[in-house]
Symmetry: C2
Subunit: 436 residues, 2 copies
């Protein structure tokens, strides 16, 4: 048997067995339903693109992680590592075919050759939604609401969305004469929750001197209320400015809609990525804050600047499906089901394969998923098989029952047989069971 | 502007804009719903695998088309080119975790560096469904039924499924002493519809001599009825054998279920791939037979023999989504919709961003997709935008209407305004519109 090839997947890649895949599909279906209810539409882009398109002028951490190679035609190609860069290219290419503002979602796999030792996967699913072609506060607010509604729809509604505004931070640093050091400072601030207050202060003091370090630390610490934090931020920015006004408008929208509780103004939220220029946000589960943000995003000035001279502002967010599922598992809130069939038709006699499928078709037409068992094993074995597959009922009919039109419905959990049922009665029983 | 990177996709790859992507998603959702109604469950496997796993001992046409490269760790990897090979590897790896017979579906992208001049794509979607771990006629029949039901569900129910049995062909060739030439002969027979009767005969005569050529041609030509063809096949096989009995059993199942009309026994159907050993089938649209088979498959003796010494028989089929969509387009039977929102809330006054989302939330809670327009443009422009997005109604409410709780619902098609509506009335109107 040394000729056999070992069946294994690449490190960092995963098979999804039915239970896990059903869970993933039901989750993404719920997310899609939510996105669609807001009028968002799906797009899709190729998994493989010109490396130049995905990596731009290149360099940096991203490039090292990208799956990049030469195709048969000698083209330098790469697998997408996120859904934002392909979306930017998509907008530059198809802008004239679309109506702006354009609200799209994209749920798809992305690939990164990350270090798997930190529990990272090399293939994972992202769920992105964006509104492009608008600078309105209404679009910022809509994305914030969708984050809340999406998580609520999948059963983790107890969340805090921590948000800030990159523009206010920039004004503050400019006022301190530190705009040249903003990258370093933002990177340090981003670590606050991880390294703690004292360590952050010490690092900031190294970069900007102790007085400025203290001022920055005082700026990024949230106050008692959204309004108090906004007042501090406004002072730090040197007074009211369009950026603080935007935060005020969003707060008014939250109050008008009665959703203010969910949002915390937290100036330490900066999002590492350079392209954010406006509001930025991260979402934490109140029951499990330690797993980090499950949905993050922000506003950007110009999505497609690498590919087009037409300016394209927008706002969006991304849900990391894998982290979300890890969270649901940690909260024991997964909804694992082995299968879809509610009724299994037993194989009492192999010669009735056509009749059994006719019976199953009647259940299916009534909206009841129905599996036909294919092996004429002992009934107890067929009951056990049906149970493993998650069915609730087994319909049993041999020659006599088929001739009489009187069949047996066995309820697996109770081991109770309902006998002498017509097909109509059996279907009615299963349909009633759907709503229970 | 010479610094800009040209926004373009690789040859053979495609972006899907919303209309096209919505169509694709609704189609795959319908297929999934059908698969689930038969009790089939989804799995997923990595896009990228060890090249050795995907290509086996290698060689042949496939290898030339595969996207294959070295990853960061120097591993020889490749993108999957179909869903069958990963499924075989999956079964070898996870067999002990699954209950047999195992019924799975897998809808996913695959990649082949094919010659794009023949209108082929290099990235396309396959929809596979298989039952493994059983040799029963019931499982053969179930796959045949699912092919029929799947196509019916997406609106192309007028089909012919042409089927045969590879084992009968093998017996026939063995009887003629031609089993050593079976690959050549099967390849020639496969071309019958393309090159015609005479050319096929001349090629077969070259391979096997004129008398055998004529005998083969007479064998592969379907007769008047399923039964007559089966009789010819039985004679050609040297009498009744398990393979002809299997065809007879399947015919009985078809008759019992009243679906016999759809199936034609056609011994010229062989399916090129070597791994089929039992029934094989192809599906043609009666209205558009020239586009070729939209759903094909068959029974195999041993799925995972490259990776495991445990024998795993099964039966399955694959729907090519792209060819199916091309067919729907040719038949003008596509169901193109620009979006999901049925109601758009106009942006009369930007300060009411929170109130507009509250209104939209009421529609959404009632099951009506509702988009909030974000730009305070002239109402005629907002009506035009809502129309482009496929909405039926625009809800219009300025300060006065919000204070009174009396709003305007404009029906886009009729340009009719219904005024003085409470939110409840507006929602009821839209809900009633859903079922119309």
């Amino acid at each position: 048997m040394s000729d056999l090839i070992e069946a294994r997947v690449l490190k960092g890649f995963r098979d999804f067995l039915p239970e896990a895949e059903i869970e993933r599909r039901l989750l993404t279906e719920t997310l899609e339903k939510t996105f669609r209810s807001f009028g968002f539409v799906p797009i899709d882009t190729p998994a493989l693109e010109y490396a130049e398109i995905l990596l731009g002028k290149g360099g940096g951490e991203t490039e090292k992680q990208v799956y990049r190679f030469q195709d048969h035609g000698g083209r330098d190609v790469a697998l997408r590592f996120d859904l934002t860069v392909p979306f930017a290219r998509f907008m530059a290419e198809h802008r004239s075919e679309l109506t702006l503002p354009f609200k799209r979602y994209h749920i798809a796999k992305v690939w990164r050759g990350e270090n798997t030792q930190r529990g990272r996967y090399r293939e994972f699913t992202q769920c992105d939604f964006d509104i492009v072609g608008t600078e309105s506060a209404a679009s910022d607010f809509e994305i914030l609401l969708m984050m809340r509604e999406s998580l609520r729809a999948i059963g983790v509604g107890d969340i805090t969305i921590r948000m800030s505004h990159r523009g206010v931070f920039n004004r503050f640093l400019t006022r301190l004469g530190l705009s040249g050091k903003s990258v370093e400072i933002l990177r340090t601030v981003d670590k606050l929750t991880k390294i703690g207050r004292d360590e952050t202060l010490s690092l900031l003091s190294e970069i900007a001197g102790r007085p400025h370090g203290e001022e920055i630390l005082s700026f990024i610490e949230p106050k008692e209320t959204f309004e108090a934090t906004l007042a501090t931020m406004t002072a730090a920015a040197g007074g009211t400015c369009p950026e603080t006004e935007r935060l005020g408008t969003l707060r008014a929208f939250m109050n008008d809609m009665g959703v203010a509780d969910v949002f915390v103004l937290d100036p330490s939220i900066t999002r590492g990525l350079d392209y954010y220029t406006g509001v930025v946000y991260e979402t934490f589960l109140n029951e499990l804050p330690e797993i980090g943000s499950v949905c993050s995003g922000g506003r950007y000035d110009d999505l497609a600047s690498l590919y087009s001279k037409d300016r394209l502002p927008g706002v969006g967010a991304s849900i990391g499906l894998d982290r979300l599922i890890a969270a649901l598992e940690a909260l024991s809130r997964t909804n694992r089901t082995p299968g879809f069939a509610r009724v299994a038709v037993a194989c009492v006699d192999e010669t009735f394969g056509g009749r059994y499928q006719s019976i199953a078709a009647t259940f299916r037409a009534a909206g009841v998923s129905c599996e036909v068992l294919t092996e004429p094993k002992k009934l107890v074995q067929q009951y056990a098989l049906a149970e493993k597959k998650g069915a609730r009922w087994v319909l049993v009919a041999g020659r006599e029952e088929l001739e009489n039109g009187r069949m047996i419905m066995r309820e697996i959990a109770t081991r109770e047989n309902k006998e002498n049922m017509s097909l109509e009665e059996a279907v009615a029983l299963a349909v009633a069971g759907l709503v229970r």
